[in-house]
Symmetry: C2
Subunit: 501 residues, 2 copies
């Protein structure tokens, strides 16, 4: 009896989880004892994956002598219509026992992490296994040594860019602060000062926009390593999506599971950041940690713990890490969402009268600290130099050069559906809840819909009248606008007003 | 624009995870911004579920104005072909934040567990959320108070049987020992002594057979609460599948995730056991803990820890728990797998010459201890009384009466495909690895295939010749036989032989 079946594309998008569909009367299903949700190994022309079985009822759309693959399974196998693949029971992946050990409170070494990463990249671990791994590492459950091991294993799983021993600067912001889109400005200033800063960024994990999402509104970001090198050779800097490169490639798989779980882990956060910095060839890295009660890092103490871990793991892998704490008590700029944040970035670079002052000041702080790390600037003079480069238009010109080199600049546009949310009573705006405002932007469609999000129309400390507009919800569909509005209307804590005495 | 679509069954079995299929050109997909793997709320006639979206390519099997549901989603909504359902973005389930808190190392109270259980039963948590919950509770991560809270929340989510204040005995074995199928024998003896013992059992979680799987070979086990009451009223005892009742109904959902992860948790194990015992109305419970290096409980110390937790949580919920430690160093009886274990059980009850002595002795130990817990037997006389009831045939007659009351006795049969594994060298059999032998039985198809498993042909301590048969693999398909054989052939640790000097 043959254990092969001809493959067809199922025409079903299951996101990244590979699924194989078989007819319930299929001879392989029957002879192998496969039933719904069984994990099945599929071999084709030297490649193999493990997919989850969904069983199609007899009389349905699937012939008895065919196996259909989800889009991700089809792509992972490099299948062509009619290819004959072999089906078998998979050996349990070796790394599953490492995940189990970690869940039970054990500690893992580099080989164990490398095994988990290899099986992740090869689609041999199920989504449940990955969720277990993420959960087992959540909070503070990876110690320093494990974090070093995970960082190295993540870096080693992909490429590392080589800049021939040059000084290479980089920055990273530990997220959680809506609208805090300093990166494009900082890269433009640092590159304008003549330094190398090959910046890769991620898309949003649990926030309404990542730097890559925002930058993509203004220029292509899905560059490969060769294109990245060319852009940096031409301009000194770049702002590209890290997921399009093969730098620490497991990170995106972990993010795919972390995103719906809405989990963070100190160890995984450090490994994610530093493995990418090491892979991009950075030698000196500045980490910005916004601290605030509703930011990702909630207290100075938490920032110190995370910062110490970043410095110490950086040292272990040969990376000089500097830290910067910033105010994380409220959103930065006006916009929250890819296009709305891009507009703030451009306003600062263009020195327009509408440029958000807080975003400008934060970008100058960071660029200044980075310049202080590099030779050519007197210690402590970095910020003044950054300001000169921004005010002279040199940073704007550099940013436009980077966008051109990445494939061409494009001007952000506004969403078609907008709604102003107004104050129910007069008062002074005392706080903005970062998490609630971020959730509103996400319900409005950000980051999936580029122009969706929230635009703040007032600032903490401002006096507002009853009926005055506090913020605007932007969406690309009426349905998303309505969801975001319904959620916002039910939350009194979005913006807190002190009562007028 | 309408947010409703007509429903059709997808004819796809995704096991318990509800999946909804929409055409990529469907107006709801587009207007709501739904994309693959989005979680979608579906409302129909007062019921609602949250399902995962899979997107079907245009030109495929799904019309643009229809939404197709997986078998589990269809059943959960009670849908009929053509029903018009409403689609919307779900609010994040409230219990997701409790799971996150637990993953980060927090502690949960009863209300938090009740919320997780409610959302689990209502299909509002994703499989990733459940995997995170299981992982966050793995090992020793639930403290005593949390375990009490989880136990009560699990019991309260379902029904509790009422026996009018009568003394109700029960037993439970903390699994991990292949072939240790004492329950049918113990229930028969205790019921023959005139006591109430309404025994519910689970199907296998990570083992090749659960008591329900084994009992189902001999009689129907999927009884409802009314049928259970009738059987116990008629015979004093029963051996039914707990999942067919509404006793601690969340347990099966947790098991569905624990099974592929192959995880155990002290707290969840205690809550699973005691919530079911409390729900079945038991007042005195004996817990059997086989201890051995490859059993589920690996050391006397681990047994004491688990035992103390069982007694202490039992006390908190008003249940008198007694403990029994037994030898968990090797499989019990000859068979491993539902039908093979059923044959061992029947051999003991029928007092045949082939009855496995170890299984008989263990069943008598447990039945004796249970009789000692109840009035009517002089302390310490329980075992002798149990032996009399077994040897006289009273237990066999009682077992047949229970099977008849449950729907009719049936004799187990052997698998069609069998293969003997032989010794590569002569020696004395020193150890059998429970985990490896269990994995072989599972690869052969147990417990899904009732007659699949392993039959041991020799015992620890026996001398074997080179070429002598050590055990037999039983399977219902040639493919499964081949997998089990390939795995067994690659593992030298299945049975360890000391070399002949």
């Amino acid at each position: 009896m043959s254990d092969t079946l001809a493959l067809i594309p199922a025409g079903i998008d299951t996101y990244r989880q590979p699924v194989v569909y078989m007819n319930e009367d299929c001879h392989i299903c029957r002879s192998e004892g496969f039933a719904a949700e069984t994990r099945i190994r599929i071999d084709l022309k030297g490649r193999w994956i493990v997919a989850t079985l969904n069983v199609v009822a007899r009389g349905g759309w699937l012939a008895v002598d065919r196996a259909a693959l989800s889009a991700s399974a089809w792509a992972a196998l490099g299948a062509r219509e009619g290819d004959s693949a072999r089906f078998s029971h998979p050996e349990p992946p070796a790394s599953a026992s490492a995940i189990r050990a970690k869940a039970y409170g054990g500690t893992l070494d580099r080989a164990a992490f490398a095994g988990i990463i290899r099986d992740t990249l090869d689609n041999r671990l199920s989504d449940l296994d990955l969720a277990a791994f993420i959960t087992a590492c959540a909070g503070d459950r990876l110690d320093r040594q494990e974090t070093v091991a995970l960082t190295r294993a993540m870096q080693a799983a992909g490429e590392t860019l080589d800049w021939g021993g040059a000084l290479v600067l980089d920055k990273h912001c530990v997220g959680g602060l809506p609208g805090n889109r300093t990166t494009p400005i900082v890269v433009a200033i640092v590159a304008a000062a003549g330094h190398l800063i090959p910046k890769t960024s991620s898309r949003a994990i649990t926030s309404p926009a990542g730097t890559a999402d925002t930058m993509e509104v203004m220029a292509p970001v899905a560059l490969d390593a060769a294109a990245l090198r060319r852009v940096v050779r031409e301009t000194g800097g770049c702002i590209v999506w890290g997921g399009g490169l093969n730098l620490s490639p497991a990170d995106d798989h972990f993010i795919r599971i972390e995103r719906p779980l809405d989990f963070d882990s100190t160890g995984q956060m450090v490994a994610s950041v530093l493995s990418k910095k090491a892979a991009v060839g950075a030698t000196r890295v500045l980490i910005d940690m916004p601290v605030g009660p509703t930011a990702k890092v909630r207290s100075v103490r938490a920032a110190e713990g995370l910062g110490a871990r970043l410095v110490s793991v950086g040292e272990a892998i040969g990376l000089q890490v500097s830290l910067h704490q910033s105010d994380g008590s409220a959103p930065v700029g006006r916009g929250i969402g890819p296009a709305l944040e891009a507009m703030d970035v451009l306003a600062v670079l263009r020195r327009g009268p509408d440029a958000p002052e807080d975003l400008r000041a934060r970008a100058l702080d960071l660029a200044g600290k980075l310049l202080d790390l590099a030779p050519g600037t007197k210690a402590g003079q970095g910020r003044a130099r950054a300001e000169t480069l921004l005010d002279s238009g040199a940073a704007e010109a550099k940013f436009m050069a980077i966008c051109a080199a990445q494939g061409g600049f494009r001007e952000p546009v506004s969403a078609p559906h907008r709604l102003e949310m107004t104050a129910q009573s007069p008062g002074t705006l005392t706080t903005i809840d970062n998490r609630v405002i971020a959730r509103i932007a996400k319900l409005a469609g950000a980051p999936r819909q580029k122009t969706a999000g929230v635009r703040l129309l007032t600032r903490v400390g401002a006096k507002v009248e009853r009926g005055q507009s506090l913020y605007e919800i932007h969406a690309e569909t009426p349905g998303e606008l309505a969801y975001a509005q319904a959620y916002a209307a039910a939350r009194t804590s979005v913006l807190t007003l002190s009562e007028v005495p």
